[in-house]
Amino acid sequence: MKRLAWAFLAGALFVAGLVLGGMTQPRKVRGFLDVTGRWDASLAFVMLGAVGVYALLYRRGLRRAEPWCGGPFARATQHGIDLPLLLGAALFGVGWGLVGLCPGPAVAALATGNGRVLAFVVAMLLGMWLVDRGRSRAASSGEQRQ
């Protein structure tokens, strides 16, 4: 229960950070990506600030045996740079650039009740589901071959 309360609070703070940083305004995000035009660098500071604070808290966690609410600390399961990582990141960047929304701000922007934001989120979930389905198919056909 305590764990869930912390997760709720973290989600709440996360959105407050996105909103204060201006990430829920697609035009501002596209201004940040417009490095060759009228570049709006403010989001770079939002991101650097987040990285800095998280780096400190992450290290604090590493010194502990377990999290406050018990259980293991999550560990990275994949190592090394591979094609799916780079291809996926490249596709994500194109989608991000086209509208100026990434997954976190898109969820927050659902609060506007805008139909296009809803379409974005539904299409995003569909895209994730398609990748999962493709992967499980590839895994099962790999098993059959063996």
């Binding site: 309360a5 703070l13 600030g49 960047g93 991000w96 509208v99 379409a119 974005f120």
Partner: protein, 129 residues
């Protein structure tokens, strides 16, 4: 504040605040670990609805393209973040702070293609207008 939020999730439950991962895993079989994800998303949505009511200007969707374009982009973001195992929060904030080589490579890649997309779109809009 974003860093503090991600840090609290890490220190309290040992979890990584990657939004695309949290959303994506809700699409597979639900279990014990679903609970904190739903709680996190509830915190996000509840706060967003409250902030939108008191400060609508911060949620300005000015410049958001039409339905076809937003849906296509959503699909690209969904496929891309699942294939690439992360988005701006998981790779860009948490991963970089951990010093993960994978996350640094992913972040440079999506920043580059994002900037290129904006550049090409602005060029196209200029020539069209």
């Amino acid at each position: 504040m974003i860093g503090l939020a991600a840090g609290l999730l890490w220190l309290s439950g040992g979890q990584i605040a990657g939004i695309s991962g949290i959303l994506g895993s809700l699409l597979s079989r639900w279990g014990q670990a679903t609970l904190w994800r739903v709680a996190f998303l509830a915190g996000m949505l509840g706060t967003a609805i409250w902030l939108q009511a008191v400060w609508p200007g911060a949620f300005s969707l000015a410049g958001l393209p039409g339905l076809g374009m937003t849906a296509l982009s959503g699909l690209l973001v969904g496929v891309g973040t699942r294939l690439g195992s992360g988005c701006t929060s998981g790779h860009g904030v948490c991963g970089i702070a951990r010093g993960s080589v994978r996350s640094i490579a992913a972040t440079l890649t999506f920043m580059l293609t994002g900037a290129l997309t904006v550049f090409l779109m602005n060029r196209w809009l200029e020539s069209a207008g």
